[in-house]
Amino acid sequence: MSICAEHISFAYNGQPVLFDFNMELPAHGIVALSGPSGCGKTTFLHLMAGLIMPDSGSVKGIDRHRIGVVFQEDRLLPWLTAAENLNLIFRNPAQTAEWLLNMQLSEQANFYPSELSGGMKRRIALARALAFDCDLLLLDEPFQGLDQDLKERMYERVREAALTKPVLMVTHDTLEIAELADQVYQASGPPLSVK
């Protein structure tokens, strides 16, 4: 069963951000959502993640309600090291070590977020979401701060994840869209509309 957002409306401070918005995601593959800043893309992602409730409408098809998210911000716990931040989610040191290796961050395992570069923090945030056992993966500008070489490696990880689950990715980068997306929605708004 595919995941779909049905007739979603949401207003913020009286301003409609989404109005009777519909979107259906495939069972697997990468869907890109691109559009100008402030058109409601991130709000839609938060609605899909269940972080905010719609005024009307619903999201259907997420059975276990397990959703992996790469937020716009890295949202790492500043008092935990890179490894501890990952292990907090995985609860499995072997898996943590494996993902640190995958992300080429083994040497930074015991670094605190304040000691990591922007790109390193982004990779931890990506690893956290990619390794999370989930039904849907939501990525909000997931590759910001990464150089091209790292981006290529991360694309591979995202493609692997998209083999078994739908991935909804918000991005402004046309290269990322060309490289990754199976389906592209061009957004405008608010209220958010796509074509």
Partner: protein, 318 residues
Amino acid sequence: MPDNLQHQKPNSDAQSTEHIKSGSGMLHIAPKRKAGLKRLYWIPVALFWLILWQIVYQFVHQDLLLASPLQVFGRLAELCRQPDFWLATLYSLLRIEAGFILAVLSGTVLAVLTARYAWINHFIYPAVSAIRSTPIASFIILALVWMSSNRVVIFIVFLMVLPIVWTNVMEGIRKIDPLLLEMAAVFQLSRRQIFRYIDVPSVSPFFIASATTGLGLAWKAGIAAEVLSTPANSLGGRLYEAKIYLETPELLAYTILIITLSLLLEKLLVAILQNTGKYFHRHGRIEIPGNLDKKPAVQGENSIESTSEKNNKSGGLT
């Protein structure tokens, strides 16, 4: 390697004796001796104030108005030889700390409740505001009517410290980053994990600040309550007697003792809280298989990280 890792300066307080090679190839010896000397900074400061005190004493030249440092410390030494003095110190300490601990516990519980339920805050806020703006003497006199002098001290300390702990801890709870809580919700962290890894580290700086400020105030309020209620075996009672008999050296000796006790207990409290944080941090650490649990040596100037700097990074109440 990012830039921010290539310029880590060694902690100036470090006790390291490591040799640090600078970019110019010069070998610098880490300043262990300098750090040791730095800790003795208080000696010239203390000497300055003692000399100033002596100058003022000689200027005033009336023992009744101001005793000399020698007279005061001499009197303090005499007092230290009396068992009653230690008994008074012990009882004052117990009363003040009892009030302080009660206030810290109640203030924390109250902060959790008021942060969670706004309606409790509506009820509590006016009372706490009233306590804050009421002169302490009014409470002491009222409390003397209500209870025994021993309990007055505990009650007054409790009353003075409670608002500080309550407001600070509540502020800490309100300042917990909602973005981190959203992350915790998305990745389905347990309530216990959220408490340990988000709530406690977020609130602990506010808690430590309120506890240390509160402890200083506890001594001021507690001694003031003892002066007015004069319970048996109390430093406040001794102060009151010194005032009655115009024993200025004794009055100043007790004052110095109270200041010293207050400062020592504050340092002890901070050490206890920090070590508790470090203990939990150590026991929360994970063992990463393989050779991943070592920080790499960072190349470049001042790249060797001192032991104390590492401890500082992993320290704190986290």
